[in-house]
């Protein structure tokens, strides 16, 4: 099981701030996790498409597509940050 978190525009669009998920065994990194979530279609496909500026953090560190994702991890999806 992994914990998925969504923030800001993504949280609103998905109507979801967090969920527990059990991705298939071929989901091993951020890239394959994102592709798996895109398969939900609709807004998931639109918001997480490759050309969208979505940032991902794994266990609260900024990640890239090759960052490993495994059981027990916390993975967050969010738009580019706009604080300060």
């Amino acid at each position: 099981m992994i914990t998925l978190l969504y923030f800001a525009r993504l949280r609103e669009t998905f109507g979801l701030s967090s969920e527990r998920a059990n991705p298939p065994a071929d989901v091993t990194d951020v890239r394959s996790l994102t592709e798996w979530l895109c398969q939900r279609g609709g807004t998931w496909q639109e918001e997480l498409a490759q050309d969208k500026p979505v940032r991902v953090a794994v266990n609260q560190d900024i990640a890239d597509p090759d960052t490993a994702v495994g059981d027990g991890d916390e993975v967050a999806f969010f738009p580019p940050v706009t604080g300060g």
Binding site: L5, F7, A8, R9, P53, A57, Q60, D61, I62, A76, F78, P79, P80, V81, T82, G83, G84
Partner: protein
């Protein structure tokens, strides 16, 4: 090193006094205060809401402050960032750095602020007369952060 995420306002004078209290080795304090503007892309902003990622925010800011401490000869740092609803003229963020000499405090303060803008997980949602929208990230903020990674002469 201290990070505070809070809904309440802050008092710059009191915070700086606290930062330098009891340390006679401090010769300089540089600070930056960010405020809510009433105009963004020529639309009038009536209110904004700051959302953040609890846990990662503190972690990211601590890392940024730790990096500043490695790069410059600084004594102490403080970052306060407000969350929740804010109105134009409200204070949003405070970065304060103390050091023996001014150059280190100036540089570290700007570095922390530039990195905060691009790495700390905060998001602004603006309420305008035309409705609410999430603020888009600015290319200029990324450029400002990148200049700190350029090889030094």
């Amino acid at each position: 090193m201290e990070v505070r995420i809070q809904t309440e306002d802050f008092d710059l004078g009191a915070e700086i006094l606290n930062l330098r209290r009891g340390n006679s080795g401090i010769g300089a304090v540089a600070s930056f205060v960010g405020l809510v503007r009433d105009l963004n892309h020529s639309t009038t902003v009536t209110e904004m809401t700051l959302e953040h990622y609890p846990g990662m925010t503190e972690k990211a800011l601590s890392e940024i402050m730790g990096e500043a401490k490695q790069r410059w000869n600084i004594i102490n740092t403080l970052v306060i960032h407000r969350i929740g609803p804010l109105k134009p003229t409200d204070q949003i963020v405070l970065v304060a750095v103390s050091s023996a000499h001014r150059g280190d405090a100036f540089a570290a303060c700007e570095f922390i602020m530039d990195y905060l803008k691009t790495r700390a997980p905060f998001w602004k949602k603006e309420q305008t007369e035309a409705g609410a929208h999430w603020v888009n990230a600015r290319e200029s903020d990324e450029t400002a952060a990148q200049r700190w990674t350029a090889p030094s002469a």
